[in-house]
Symmetry: C2
Subunit: 386 residues, 2 copies
Amino acid sequence: MPFPKRRLMTPGPTQTPQSARLAMARELINHRTDEFRALIAEAIEGLKYVFRTANDVMILSSSGSGAMEAAVVNAAPRGGKVVVLESGKFAERWRRIAEAFGIEVVRCELPWGQAFAPEQVAELLKRHPDAAAVFATLMETSTGVGHDIAGIGRVVGQTPALFVVDGISGVGVMECRTDEWGIDILVVGAQKALMTPPGLAFAAISAKAWRQIESFRPPAFYFDLSAYRKAAALGDTPYTPAIPLVLALVESLRLIRQAGIENIWARGRLLAEAVRSGVAALGFRLVAERPAEGMTAAHPPAGVDAKLFLRRLEARFGVKLAGGQGPLKDRIVRIAHFGQIDEFDILGLLAAMELVLVELGQKVKLGSAVAEAQRVLSASAARGDG
Amino acid sequence: MPFPKRRLMTPGPTQTPQSARLAMARELINHRTDEFRALIAEAIEGLKYVFRTANDVMILSSSGSGAMEAAVVNAAPRGGKVVVLESGKFAERWRRIAEAFGIEVVRCELPWGQAFAPEQVAELLKRHPDAAAVFATLMETSTGVGHDIAGIGRVVGQTPALFVVDGISGVGVMECRTDEWGIDILVVGAQKALMTPPGLAFAAISAKAWRQIESFRPPAFYFDLSAYRKAAALGDTPYTPAIPLVLALVESLRLIRQAGIENIWARGRLLAEAVRSGVAALGFRLVAERPAEGMTAAHPPAGVDAKLFLRRLEARFGVKLAGGQGPLKDRIVRIAHFGQIDEFDILGLLAAMELVLVELGQKVKLGSAVAEAQRVLSASAARGDG
């Protein structure tokens, strides 16, 4: 190809709107100014809108893992006990952070790809009534599972434990009603469905969580949420924020508000269905027993090497998908369908996947995956969705 | 003014070169790629060049305070003992971080504005031979003091203690020879003399420091330096980095290497001298007994309200300087002269300061501060410096 184009379709980082990228090219302003405080305030209003919350929202200059650490160290003291619902790499991260800070972890493990039932969590909390918090994951990016956060939230809400949810990649594409579902600490990343470059993360904190946070002194400085709360009272962040990323976030949130969060959720469901239909037609098998709506993880058909497939897709069409992690390394492909990724991208991707499979010697009926996805999209259009 | 221009002259964040800002407007690339790894490698080579070190350099996606936390929690275990040389707001931060993590702090305090003598530190280490580390500050941004890091380094180097230096605002404008001066952990911020937007920080770590870091398990996850070291062996960062800021950093470092770090240090000394001569002619008194070369902090002449002065300077000329912090709040002005700030900016600033003072009712000989600075600059040009 004489003029190669790139098509970033990994589940983070993701494509960023032009207005957000251009905002970063502006001359820097100082952050201790009314001008910047107004931008922070707008960003926080936008995040509350997306998170469906009236709780406090804090902006952290770190990756999503930093916000996870903030949630862990502020939710439970050293020597305290927490429950981690673990069924993938990112849930495992909840546990590893807790262990690094000397917090006792009640492990609740399922094989990667499976989803927790609220009853399981109820049972666990009966056995561990002293658990300070339950840690869950909205969209497990390593497997593409969408967990039943609403259902688990109902269970945890009846106990003194905090309900802490990793919404890093899921929030902004999957339905997530923070207040209605009883999420006490929600952590979200910038570089996924919020269409902002990496380097910012967010935490929404309920009144119940604040009471627990203030009941002990956490081993924390940069991630001490009380310091963020104190600074937020003045419209500030406690440390110098990543200013250009905040400018980008404001732009992306403007686009999200214009589109409407419920429309974005509906579109996530539609694109997910289209992708699942398409890849199924090509013989891919989903990793997730309860698939999420912002991404799809799938095993390629027998005889196709996932790594080779991904490399060829990128070399041939500039499409960058993600591979597997941990035990799924080099065994699966992961496709994002959130943010700026749209119907055109999905149709093109499926057509490109068909060609690459053929070129790798697979028997594929050309157009078959595209046709499956088209049927999904046109049925939706006929119903007047979106 | 019909077309207002901004002139950011705060000691961080600072003006960013156009090439760095435009690099951030590029479409995002994924970080787990050879393309991004090459950029990380180039950034690390550039940082080593600026820091004058062959030690490992890690890139953290956080503010400078995050890198300070990394230095503290990895240098000393909970219950360990450290010495903090405290004479300003940022040195105080070393202590507050250590306290947050249950590390015993031997406080060595001087009034703000004063500088530590190496002999004082030698004396302290004799009394506390079990100190795991000594924490110092190259350029104390709250007071404009430049501490004698070379001298203190010689003292600490004769003991088992690590020498940890906050070079967040000083490195890249003040001479700092990490290896020659025996700095075991140097932390640096992006948004000061490195002319990169805030959101990245750096840590250079000696072999002596690694041995200590690996001797215990720190209460750390996001700031666990061993995780950074492990990822760095593969050319990676352990968590998703702030990609656009890394692109900006690469561009700024290219400009710094082109200019040559010794030339940049010489220019820092020159601009500092010009600013000090100029503000002295206006009746300002320096805060620092040992002034730094990247910024100047000064009390305005009697009868001039610092806050009013700064507000008017900004309204009238678009010049943003910083005010004081802590006990110096609303009492001083702080002027950065690092990064892109040049002779023209300094001359214009002094002229603007003269006019603002006159408009505030002060008796000022117009042109007097400018003339003092001009004499410094032209003497330097006559000597053939720079």
